[in-house]
């Protein structure tokens, strides 16, 4: 029986008391994190563990995008099916013997062209895009739009149903870009099936919707690609804002030429035109998006010396005992950082760094493989673009990979520094192995939390919950906050959890595969002061797509200065006298009483300490930023 979920009262805020804003770091706030082990199962009433976060809203999936039976489909065989007799249709096999072993399917009458209920993941929520006061949540069934004028009470305002894949979603202006990759995808978002062998009605690629009229969203373009679109990335033109590009990452097997001209598969030694070993670049004239078309298929894995198209990792283990890595035939996802002219590609067997100053012809400038990585899945730059954090989706997201017995560097985050344009391996981070064997869990999508002076990222771990880490020291990342729920149900693995967790305009937005959209606020803690939280919450963007990374510039505000001071207090890099002096100056600035001379004096004090701290250290950078700010506001 199918029950459709209509509405649910938002979960009350968990009532974590706001910690009083204190300019100093209070060691008493340092509480041991709660255990994430053994949380009770439940769809909307699972047990939870929360640390240094507040859950402010929990919006269940809307009508037409939720089906209880589908959500609760167990993955694999439920325990109770073991030892069951096979369904008995072998009994009539003597009759079929008469017809011979052809494929006419005499015994398939009971099957026919049968409609079954929605399959696993049919209503799974996936990625988010942000525009104005709206959040767009993509998914396997289409996308939903929420009004988030009050971020702690998002209001669902419309749905667009369009099944056909994980529905990776981006937004620019009135246009929504949407990925389709499954064979059931149709041009008209229906499910009437594709009748002909190679049908123009079958659609795999990137759709473009116009949502300028919320009463009549329309599909305005659908750009077919050889391997569909598993994910895509919005890439602005460097100078011309009437044009944008979409990088298309297709991971399906290539379609035949008979279905889509120019498509073919195979290895490049046999077929140099293979649709493998490339990405698709779509150019979108923003004023006439219906003219969007593919303009290049760059071979970004080519060996620069030999010219070999399949130039990167061929798949398999790098050494004895190493993880079995995917082969690099496609990128799973690409994060572009337009202000830096860079992109980070997570491409199966490799993490790569691309120069995208010419977006139509991205050029690989570095690549990395690692024996711990099974499937390079996503990339996030630090704000200064000196580091890239890659996730490893070991097991594809459907497996339980955060158990005590799972290696701590497998299915984890890999952090690489960018040194002279080259990726260099640093540290790994994985949430503790406290998840059960019925919770799908592995590193997944996230974004930077804009705390000045630190590299902090929030990300989803599927049923492992969401986690916030500090990777300022790329060799030694550590966790500073998390939220976790128990599994969807007892006894068997059901696919749920956070597809992603993204920071945007002062909140953490977390699309839950089965349970809808959750919103969180940071809570100050020993690891993050109230000033650091407030400085992060200052950062606002009108439009944001996580895989189109935006450079963060903090305003000259006292709270930003205090965030730096809190960090210098925590690290002990600035002596007490200097700290007190600079704090007094910032307090005076805050109340409008600072004169130019005192600001200059504080800046000079910081400059002296910067030299002592070692010019390349995180503390030196904090002091330099703070000093520069004090000079700017004189």
């Amino acid at each position: 029986m199918k029950a459709t979920f209509r509405s649910m009262v938002s979960l009350a805020a968990l009532g974590a008391a706001m910690v009083a804003c204190s300019p100093t770091v209070d060691d008493d706030m340092s509480e041991a994190p709660p255990s994430r082990a053994g949380l009770a199962p439940g769809l909307f009433d699972a047990g939870t563990a929360i640390w240094n976060l507040e859950l402010t809203a929990s919006v269940p999936p809307p009508d037409g995008f939720f089906d209880l039976d589908t959500v609760m489909i167990p993955l694999g065989r439920p325990d109770d099916s073991e030892g069951e007799d096979e369904p008995a249709d072998d009994d009539g096999s003597d009759e079929t013997a008469e017809t011979g072993a052809d494929d006419s399917g005499a015994s398939d009458d009971e099957v026919g062209e049968e409609e079954t209920g929605p399959g696993l993941l049919a209503f799974a929520n996936s990625d988010l895009a942000f525009t104005g006061d709206r959040v767009i949540m993509g998914g396997f069934h289409g996308f939903n739009v929420y009004d988030t004028a009050n971020p702690d009470d998002p209001e669902h305002i419309l749905s667009v149903v369009c099944p056909g894949g994980q529905g990776d979603v981006s937004v620019h202006g009135d246009l929504v870009f949407f990925s389709t990759e499954q064979n059931r995808g149709r041009l008209d978002c229906g499910n009437g099936g594709v009748e002909a062998e190679s049908s123009p009605e079958r659609f795999l690629g990137v759709r473009i919707f116009d949502i300028s009229d919320l009463n009549a969203p329309r599909q305005v373009a659908a750009v077919q690609t050889c391997r569909g679109s598993h994910t895509h990335t919005f890439v602005p033109h460097p100078t011309d804002d009437s044009i944008a590009y979409i990088y298309v990452q297709g991971t399906s097997s290539p379609r035949p030429d008979s279905e889509l001209a120019g498509c073919s598969g195979g290895e490049p030694d046999e077929n140099p035109d293979t649709a493998l070993y490339s990405i698709d670049v779509i150019e979108v004239p923003l004023g006439s998006p219906e003219q969007a078309s593919i303009v290049s298929r760059p071979r970004i894995f080519t060996n620069h010396e030999t010219g070999e198209i399949a130039g990167l990792w061929a798949g398999g283990a790098m050494e004895d005992g190493a993880q079995t890595a995917a082969s690099t035939v496609a990128c799973h996802d690409i994060t572009v950082y337009p202000e830096m002219g860079l992109a980070g590609g997570a491409c199966g067997g490799n993490g790569i760094l691309l120069d995208i100053t010419d977006p139509v012809n991205p050029r690989r400038i570095s690549d990395l493989a690692d024996p711990n990585m099974a499937y390079w899945h996503s990339a996030t730059f630090s704000n200064d673009a000196n580091k890239v954090l890659f996730t490893d989706e070991w097991g594809g997201g459907l497996g339980a990979r955060c158990r005590a017995e799972d290696p701590e560097n497998w299915g984890a985050n890999l952090i690489a520094d960018i040194v002279d344009g080259e990726l260099e391996l640093r540290g790994f981070f994985k949430i503790p192995g406290e998840q059960s064997d019925i919770e799908n869990c592995v590193a997944h999508n996230g974004s930077i939390v804009p705390v000045p002076g630190r590299d902090i990222m929030v990300q989803g771990w599927y049923s492992g919950g969401l986690s916030i880490i500090d990777f300022t020291d790329s060799d030694n990342p550590f966790e500073i906050a998390f939220f976790d729920r128990g599994p969807l149900g007892p006894d068997a693995l059901r696919v749920g959890g956070y597809w992603a967790a993204y920071w945007h305009n002062g909140r953490v937005w977390a699309p839950e595969i089965a349970r809808g959209l959750d919103v969180f606020r940071l809570q100050p803690s020993a690891y993050l002061t109230a000033n650091e939280v407030a400085a992060a919450e200052l950062i606002r963007f009108d439009e944001a797509n996580t895989q189109t990374q935006l450079h963060i510039t903090w305003p000259d505000e006292p709270v930003v200065a205090r965030a730096y001071l809190d960090q210098l207090t925590r690290s002990g890099a600035l002596d007490q006298a200097a700290l007190a002096m600079v704090r007094d100056t910032v307090d005076a600035w805050s109340s409008g009483d600072a004169d130019a001379a005192s600001l200059t004096a504080a800046a000079e004090r910081l400059d002296t300490a910067t030299t002592d701290a070692g010019p390349s250290s995180a503390d030196a950078r904090r002091m330099a930023e703070l000093s520069a700010m004090l000079l700017r506001v004189r």
């Binding site: 029950a3 649910m8 072998d90 419309l158 064979n183 978002c189 009463n215």
Partner: protein, 232 residues
């Protein structure tokens, strides 16, 4: 907390902005350039239902048997070769194919379908086994004198080849195993290609992803095994 469906009144949309309504509209787009239509939540849910074709079911039933032989080939490795690369590759293939067999069985069982191939006794009649056990991965090739040279389906080793593999040792085993598995994998890729050439096949999302995975994983393994074979 779960309530029954509230019917969405389509006509109401035309009267004002979506925000004015308790139940936000659900749009189903038309093809590019064409207008969208509004659908009810029930219609929306029904749009997620994907069918499976008779060919999809046959494919899954056959692939279980096909994969089963790969598992069986992997079980022969122990004691027959010291080549660590072959052992590692074999273990990997056997374990991934075993878990895929479970997935395929679950897919069929969830739809109330048999996990076994039809035409079982047709196979038996052609001398490839006996009765309903003909399809089982551990084909009983020793029990009836001379094993058949005819494989059960494209890419599978014939019973005779399985006997040969079982008897081989060392370098000879490595060669037969690798050549056999390359052939075996190519057969699976051909089965996927054939399935996808048929109208309306492979639309079920889980099946769709599995088909992609078979092509991607097995193509990659084929090229690695070709390299290993060349290096022997």
């Amino acid at each position: 907390m779960i309530k029954s469906v509230t019917i969405f009144v389509v006509g109401a949309i035309l009267a004002g902005t979506p925000q004015a309504f308790a139940s936000p509209p659900i749009f189903q787009p038309g093809a590019p350039g064409l207008p969208s239509r509004t659908v009810t939540p029930e219609q929306s849910i029904s749009l997620a239902g994907t069918g499976h074709s008779a060919a999809d079911v046959r494919f899954m039933q056959h692939m279980i048997v096909h994969h089963g032989q790969a598992v069986e080939m992997g079980e022969l490795i122990a004691g027959r070769t010291d080549n660590p690369d072959v052992a590692l590759m074999g273990a990997r293939i056997a374990s991934s194919q075993a878990s895929e067999i479970e997935m395929m069985q679950a897919w069929l069982e969830r739809r109330g379908l048999s996990t076994r191939m039809a035409h079982a006794s047709a196979m038996a009649a052609s001398g490839q086994g006996h009765g309903n056990h003909a399809m089982e991965p551990g084909m009983d090739h020793a029990a009836h004198g001379v094993p058949s040279d005819t494989p059960l389906m494209p890419g599978m080793l014939s019973p005779a080849q399985m006997v040969q593999l079982e008897a081989a040792r060392g370098d000879q085993f490595d060669r037969l195993y690798l050549a056999g598995m390359i052939h075996h994998h190519q057969g699976a890729i051909d089965m996927v290609t054939d399935l996808l050439a048929g109208p309306g096949n492979g639309e079920d999302p889980q099946l769709s992803e599995f088909l992609s995975a078979v092509i991607a994983d097995q193509s990659a393994e084929i090229s690695r095994m070709r390299g290993m074979l060349a290096d022997l």
